[in-house]
Symmetry: C2
């Protein structure tokens, strides 16, 4: 991420790569006729499927400026997005983000899968982890400006609960469904 | 999508919205300290979970410039992204994209869910559909510059098949897992 992939330069019909705009967090790159987005820092996303001993799934709810609505998501964040945790490994970021957002510390964190959630738009990559042996050690809610509400939803009621929140005008990030599939929770 | 959500202007601490960059397809907007990406046209994504009568899942494989690798995805595209189909409904776009990419016409197309795949980065929204009663009427492969390879994978072998392709260096879009969950295919 953040560097031109060498394969593009070695293609029979090489495409020119130019930086069209760069801010603090994002960069717009043009490759041929494609416009795409990269994160300026060498970061990747982490997403956590966290299940309590009581078989509840932890879900977050927060106002998301890009979509202008409250969104239900799995606990998630970026690995290595601050100077203080530059070079942070994804599994460590997953544990840190779960703690910051939900107040739960994970005794076990297992990698499930990694992939690009918007491969036609962005170089962004996310890794999914399953968190278990959870222990509540804080209040959660996120860091700084974040105001994250945490929900503990019995696994068997998740699908119905998500539909109900949508009927109230909230959005559900499709990564919730991906995480449930990857954790074998259907 | 593409317009400032009114709720932002009515918050106690209103945040200024400014357009930082605008290209043909994408626009970078700053709201407060957030940098976010919007599509310039009034489009949304469609993703299709297509199952043949033989219980095979249709998957696409193509080089994706934003990530610089070949990516395994569900058939997908944008609703209303061309002048010729402006205002196109998502369900119609799902049928068109499935046909263009895979050569299969869907006798039945059922909405499964909609949501923001990258709510912290982009205003992008995607809708998932389940396609059935498939009939092969063309060769697929995509439109114009697209060079899409189509795979028909027996449902029961999907998980193993995806792991194998990853071991060969390909990436898997997490929306594949979301689609499988939503279609109840585990």
């Amino acid at each position: 991420m953040g560097k031109p992939p060498p394969t593009l330069m070695s293609m029979n019909n090489p495409l020119e790569r130019s930086i069209e705009w760069e801010g603090k967090f994002l960069r717009v790159v043009r490759i041929g006729r494609w416009e795409l987005v990269e994160r300026t820092n060498d970061v990747q996303g982490v997403v956590i499927v966290a299940i309590t001993d009581e078989r509840n799934l932890l879900l977050t709810e927060q106002e998301r400026l890009p979509v202008g609505k409250r969104v239900i998501e799995l606990p998630a964040g970026l690995a290595g997005d601050l100077a203080s945790n530059h070079g942070e490994q994804p599994v460590a970021a997953a544990r840190r983000e779960l703690l910051e957002e939900t107040g739960y510390d994970a005794g076990e964190m297992t990698w499930l899968a990694s992939g690009p959630p918007s491969a036609g738009l962005s170089s962004e990559m996310v890794s999914f982890f399953r968190a278990s042996r959870l222990r509540r050690v804080g209040s959660g809610g996120g860091e700084g400006e974040e105001r994250i509400e945490v929900h503990e939803v019995p696994l068997q009621q998740c699908a119905a609960w998500l539909r109900k929140r949508e009927s109230e005008g909230l959005l559900v990030d499709p990564k919730v469904y991906a995480g449930l599939y990857l954790a074998g929770l259907t």
